[in-house]
Amino acid sequence: MVEMVFITPFVTGLLAFVLPKALSRQLLVLTGAVHLVLSLLLWKNTPQAWFAEYFAVTPEGLLSLLVISLLFFLISIYTTGYLAAHGLKSENIFTGFMLLFLSTMTMVTLSDHIMVLWIAIEATTLASAPLIYTHRSGASLEATWKYVLICSVGIAMALVGSLFLTFSMELGGVTAAMSFSALTPVAGQLDPAWLKAGFIFIVVGYGTKMGLAPMHTWLPDAHSEAPSPASALLSGVLLNCAYLGIFKTNKIMVSAGLSDFSGTILIVFGLLSIVAAATYILKQTEYKRMLAYSSIENMGIIALGTGIGGLGVYGAVICMIHHSLIKSSLFLSSGNILMAYKDRLIANTGQMAKQMPKTFVAFFAGFAGISGFPPFGIFIGELFIIMAAFKTGHYLAAGIFIFSLCVIFAGFARQVMAICFDTPAETGTQSAADHKNFPFKEPPGMVWPQYVLLLTSLILCFFIPDALYQTIVDAVHAIGGGLQ
């Protein structure tokens, strides 16, 4: 039963390659809806997997799956509007790979076997590569090349790390199945040297995919060259999938009593990513790349929170959920901006507040949310991480973190103001006067998915349903996190 959640989009994805264009668009939305229902069913009563050795429903998997499912459904609605307004030469390939991408990401959230998780994460790279190359330009080719090569090599390192875990099992005389759920209780018997080496390789490997600096170089290119619905998926949920790999391995580390070791590594990578994002965001000239660097920042925050432990892990999971919701809405809005101004440069946009008031509201609210302003959830997550850092004596880390947040906010704010209020530098013709001739008309299907995403983030900030709260607590409890 569990496997149906990823088999369904796989089958419909294959169907989408051969169906007529209009039908495959409807299939995209329909699959999104079915997938959402199936994921919610997993929440209601946790069923056994057919292949229980390889797949299992875990709290952290359930959380990511729900985020993936909700995001995909809303993005699929946006995509139909996007395709109607924009049109792609190879539309079937696009919709087909969107669905295959959904299928592989779902598989990541449900895998329990260490190697099956690796297979699923590598499969997400393969299924998303054609999405990045959709525009068939030289730049998108370069982005795809970097993405496939850097991520494949990175993930190969994670495979080496997984092999080292098997070495540590063998030396420790552990005969349990090679799954995270079976290894976590017996982690104390694993050989610590190989376990540590394995963890380093896995963090480097899955960290490449997650966009942790200094392995992040593919991320801004891929996110800026992909069509906006695909960027929203890449940034909103693919990065979480890679994080899940690190999270699960960290569970073994904590249970083996090596949480200091793994925590330090995660804190260092997290801070590196935050600082790298801060330096690049300041001088960014393209808005989609700016959003991509903000993703690197948020992934750094999540790694930092996980490394600090305790309340920090809770903050990290909160950040992960809200980053997905808010960042995907921002990328969808950036699709509207790109479609309206037909330019990626911030300098050639402007006066969005007048030209596209609906997109402006979504974009500006998203900006406030991602910068950590209340009443959006990232504020709470970041606050928890800072509190945990002070509580555990990581003063230097907290200092670097807070300073970088300020720098990122300053850089981000300057660019967003330019997009929203400045007069366009080149095209004086697109002034407020010819508002009526503005080429882009903001169809409702391309605006309200963003509103729903932001509203979800807003509501989750004030009211978390019991089931959701309990699942978050269960997930963070396993790596020593909690509300204390």
């Binding site: 076997h113 297979i119 090569l149 494949s152």
Partner: protein, 214 residues
């Protein structure tokens, strides 16, 4: 007896590593890569004395994919783009060869100090796997020709497979097969990208792929 065979085969792998460091032409690199793929995939036959039917079938499947399909897909990709040129080294061939020699010695020394389970029967298995892995990394970093970089990735994957040989004997073949399919699909996607790079830029030098920055 069989251990001698394994070590002889692995010596050939180590020699091929040196070839890979010294080759200047893409076709010869492909031959080296295909040879390594074949050797790496037949090693389980000599390590396990009595193989179950499933293991035999899986090993043959590995041989077909690593030794034939993967090199063939790269070969076809370059046939279509017809590239007869050097691998555009960032590090020269002589320096590369010295690096290769040093690498083999270092790998042999390091392996002695590591506590490696079960594969310690064959003294050369871990050094050979490590050398293959680093060779792949080296080609990825020190060559600008995109085809040479893809070949580097394949060598890296071959090295990882060799390192996990004992694991593959024990583990579920369906899982190993999944890994193999991922690698195959990845190489095929890279081959498609290679063709597109050639069509768009009329070359496969990755220094042309430098427009996206910061």
């Amino acid at each position: 007896m069989t251990l001698y065979t394994v070590d002889t085969l692995l010596t050939l792998v180590l020699l091929s590593v040196l070839f890979a460091f010294g080759s200047s032409r893409v076709p010869s690199l492909i031959k080296v890569m295909a040879f390594q793929g074949i050797v790496v995939s037949i090693i389980p036959f000599f390590i396990t004395p009595h193989m179950a039917t499933g293991a035999v079938i899986f090993t043959i499947a590995t041989l077909v994919i690593r030794g034939v399909l993967i090199p063939l897909s790269i070969h076809l990709a370059i046939r279509k783009v017809a590239i007869q040129r050097d691998v555009a080294p960032i590090v020269g061939y002589h320096a590369s060869l010295f690096f290769g020699l040093g690498l083999i010695v270092a790998a042999a020394v390091i392996s002695r100090y590591l506590n490696i389970p079960s594969i310690s029967d064959s003294r050369l298995l871990f050094p050979a796997a490590l050398s293959l892995l680093v060779t792949g990394m080296f080609l990825l970093m020190a060559r600008r020709n995109a085809i040479a970089m893809v070949i580097g990735y394949i060598m890296l994957e071959n090295g990882i497979y060799l390192m996990g040989t004992t694991f593959s004997v024990r583990a579920r073949h369906i899982v190993e097969f999944g890994i193999l399919l991922d690698v195959l699909a990845g190489v095929m996607i890279m081959a498609v990208i290679l063709q597109n790079i050639k069509q768009t830029f009329d070359d496969v030098d990755t220094s042309l792929l430098r427009t996206l920055k910061e």
